[in-house]
Symmetry: C2
Subunit: 140 residues, 2 copies
DNA sequence: TTGTATGCAAAGCGTTTGCAGTGAT
DNA sequence: ATCACTGCAAACGCTTTGCATACAA
């Protein structure tokens, strides 16, 4: 039986408010505005149960730790900004790609990640070459 | 100054012999055939230096630990089999995908992973539904 | 001989789990 | 009054690092 705790609500709200997939640590940071004592284990436990219930979905980009966003979006892809490292949803899709697979292989799905500059970073031409800024603050 | 140790050669050879990207642990297993005492730390150190020198390249699939393959292949993609979990190179590419990004975003590259059944697994119709077999032995 | 590379064990990092106490029902 | 949920700390799996030794040069 699921209980409705302040922690669970704060976690769900934090993810709902963000308009992009969040890392567990980002969820913690955001949700601690509502529940200061919140612990990271609770974030992981709730993220997992919300994901199992289908309320959240896991977003995996190559070489990145899992992020989480509200489910409901159907098949879609992601864009990662090389400057601010943030991840955005991309609702377009190249369509069926089974023609790309080698002979004898069957394709039932695909994952696609686009890389480049997000709107904010493209605007402020900060081609600072160094990688890894914080991961979320720079521009809203 | 780079030294030519038995360990380094064994590691390089193991990756060269495999015709697919390997996990560090798979590299260790394969290279221990040549150098029984080989340690995992040495595998990680050599994988890193070979990657830095450009001899290897890192293959990152969504939600997977990094694998490594010989560099030299230029832009290409990967296929992961849902049955045996092995990863294969795909030399085809859908081409320019910048049209998929939202307005104001600029795209300079993309990562693509195809999922389905590899040739071996498609042949032996083992739709066993459970995930995660060992990760390399089953066939070939 | 010299100093990089190795093997082992300890440390790191993100994530999960055990446990006693907290609080929603 | 229950019993699921929480916070803390310990445990985990993968990767990196410190250190004394081994071995290419």
């Amino acid at each position: 039986m699921e209980r409705n705790t302040r922690q669970r609500s704060a976690i769900r709200d934090a993810i709902a408010r963000a308009e992009r997939p969040l890392l567990p640590q980002e969820v913690l940071d955001a949700a601690q505005a509502d529940v200061p004592g919140l612990g990271i284990a609770t974030v992981y436990r709730n993220i997992r149960s919300l994901t199992d219930e289908g309320e959240l979905s896991e977003v995996n980009l190559p070489g990145e730790n899992p992020r989480f966003e509200l489910a409901g979006h159907q098949h879609h892809h992601h864009f990662q900004c090389r400057q601010c490292q943030r991840v955005f949803d991309v609702h377009a899709c190249p369509g069926d790609l089974s023609r790309l697979a080698p002979q004898g292989f069957t394709v039932d799905n695909h994952d696609l990640t686009l890389y480049g500059s997000c709107k904010d970073c493209a605007a402020s031409q900060v081609k600072s070459s160094g990688r890894r800024s914080a991961g979320g603050q720079s521009l809203a």
